[in-house]
Amino acid sequence: MIFCRTNIVVCVVMLLVARIVAADDVQVGSKAFTESVILGELATQLGNTAGVATVHQSQLGGTRVLWEALRSGQIDVYPEYTGTLVEELIPGTAADLAAIKSELYRQGIGMTQTLGFDNTYALGVPDTLARRWNLHSISDLRKHPEFRFGLSNEFLSRKDGWPALKRAYDLSPTSVTGLDHDLAYTAISSGSIDVVDLNSTDAEIGFYHLLTMTDDRHVFPEYKAVFLYRLDLQDRAPEFIRAIGRLEAAIDASTMTAMNASSKLQKVSEARVASKFLMSRFQVKTDPHEQGFAAQLFTRSCEHLVLVGISLAASIVVAIPLGVLSFLRPRLGQVILTLVSAINTIPSLALLVFMIPALGIGTLPAIVALFLYGLLPIVRNTHAGLAGIAAGLRESAIVLGLSSSARLLRIELPLAASAILAGIKTAAVINVGTATIGALIGAGGYGQPILTGIRLADYKLILLGAVPAAILALLIQGGFGLVENVVVPRGLRIKARN
């Protein structure tokens, strides 16, 4: 027990110290796919080698998350693609590098030269299927509306993705499913879909025997890789900008594909892949800074406990009074219960993204989101526990002459303790699961290996996150049994046993 408590304190202190120390470091961000993580690693290792303290907040999520984080100063630099800039982030800008650069400059953002490869969108089909129907270009797909399309969610919704493609090629497949890009490969190799969207440097194209359909109508824009950085870095860490400048025109498409393949298919860590590249290309020796299994598990556990612990404590402090209030003032209670229920209908990822403009990325917005999700079960159980007290007991307390505050503290809350505790338990167990999504905005925790595992189709990594999360949920469940002995009055527990 004491050991546990000390551990948690150590975790919190470590995280806080890490935050404070890290505030001055250059923060590199990357999106939640392998190529972006490798590019992020390259920048991080080059920065550190150049003597600039650099931290990599890897796989933070999608384009929007990174862009907002860069603009609000949560991160200083991240790898982006010119096509994404023109189509999504600064729409209306001409698709040439000078125009993009000057528009970004206007917004306080700098851009490196291109890194040397183009990772545009493409469609892929299994080569057996391509041979059978003699398919070479996207136009050929028009003749096969029966093909099942499995497209990444981002591709489905971006203007330069599926909507543009569908219009340009007049495609109308009968089945279009949105799914995670990395899961799409698993789906196509198992034969449950026929067409996937690809990135042209994807490692899996060869591995899964896919054929790339040529974009014969030139719908997809160029997606040349660049680094975006905050212009204030020029003053804060000019050496850093010089360091990542070495990557300009240094990586061609086949090199990038090979790096993706060695990370995704041979399961070499991105840090090591980046380090190897820097060695062979520039003869620069860098420290891939890899954590051992135990250290990683410890870090993730600390992060996860901080997320769940702080958010749950905040939920308890706010939700119990709210539950009491909604019991005492039924009409207001309706409003409160409706509001907290409404919060829980917001998908967690959406809630996290909403918070980035106000709270940035990292632990804080994740804690706030988890805190909000934790309110409903506790408010509702507090209300239900109080409402469920027998009328005879409530009235006996009134007629005895106890003041309303004494009734609440000495009679009503103890009688509702069991229900309230059940609500807290539900909130805690839900939080342990939901907290894994915090990894998408840089909050770490068990979600980090799960996210990496999904990205790399590495089941061991997924389990490295999922198993401790499940164990933590079970521990919490068990721990509450002990808490129950303290919180729920003995007289009520005897009754429960009878």
Binding site: G392, L393, E395, S396, A397, I398, V399, L400, G401, L402, A406, R410, I411, P414, L415, A417, P489, R490, G491, L492, I494, K495, N498
Partner: protein, 248 residues
């Protein structure tokens, strides 16, 4: 002790107490009796301030019962309900001493009062340390009575205190209660649906029907001079129950 002057009470549009005037004499036992829905429980809720009259006035002593004085009045009322109404999360002792503790009584004063009350209610000392769920029904009612008497209440309000007990325990507790009432000489108001019980305790019996007082007086009065058919039938029904019970 209590005086009702033309009191009426509606519950969700329905008249449940219909122009009732009633005097509860000090130091005597009054039994409220009547079929379910006759308004006897509502009358009780009006006396404890759990409900407020829609018309008419209720006096406690010389004081008109209102929001201002209800807190003070409640400290002079001891209240026992059918299942005892003991708080299940507290031991018997904690239940009994709850209000005394709240009012800041000294520890030894609380202890000596509890000892007196245990003697009075003939409760064995080990029972008081138990939780309500560990007590028998009769023990719970005795502890509940102790709680009601703890602050030296002037008035005891008992809402079917023996209703949930089996016959043997009930008979024993009936005798003990009668003895306690006789010794304390307090004003007692007791709700029951059992005429024999009302007769056993009540110096005055108040028979209610459809929100009105149909007849009040001694048991002899009610049996010999029933004011109407309702009273006759009520008395008859209770006798029939007794006989059919005896035949079984």
């Amino acid at each position: 002790m209590y005086r009702f002057e033309s009191v009426s009470k509606f519950y969700s549009g329905e008249l449940v107490i219909d122009n009732v005037s009633l005097t509860v004499p000090r130091g005597k036992t009054t039994a409220l009796i009547g079929p379910s829905g006759s308004g006897k429980s509502t009358l009780f809720r009006l006396m404890t301030g759990l409900a407020k009259p829609d018309a008419g006035t209720i006096y406690f002593g010389d004081q008109q019962l209102d929001d201002k004085c209800i807190g003070a009045v409640r400290k002079r009322i001891g209240y026992v309900i059918q299942e005892g109404g003991l708080f299940p999360h507290m031991t018997g002792r904690a239940n009994v001493s709850l209000m005394a503790g709240h009012l800041g009584w000294a520890r030894d004063k609380v202890e000596s009062r509890i000892l007196d009350l245990m003697k009075l209610t003939r409760l064995s000392p080990e029972v008081i340390t138990r939780y309500p769920s560990e007590m028998s029904g009769g023990q719970r009612q005795r502890v509940s009575l102790m709680r009601a008497l703890m602050l030296e209440a002037d008035v005891l309000l008992l809402d079917e205190p023996l209703g949930a007990l089996d016959p043997m325990v009930r008979a024993e507790l009936q005798q003990d209660l009668a003895e306690i009432f006789r010794r304390l000489q307090k004003t007692v108001i007791l709700v029951t649906h059992d005429l024999a019980e009302a007769a056993y305790f009540g110096d005055q019996i108040v028979l209610m029907g459809a929100g009105r007082i149909v007849q009040s007086g001694s048991i002899a009065d009610i049996q010999r001079n029933p004011v109407n058919d309702f009273v006759k039938q009520f008395v008859q029904a209770q006798r029939t129950m007794l006989f059919s019970g005896a035949q079984l």
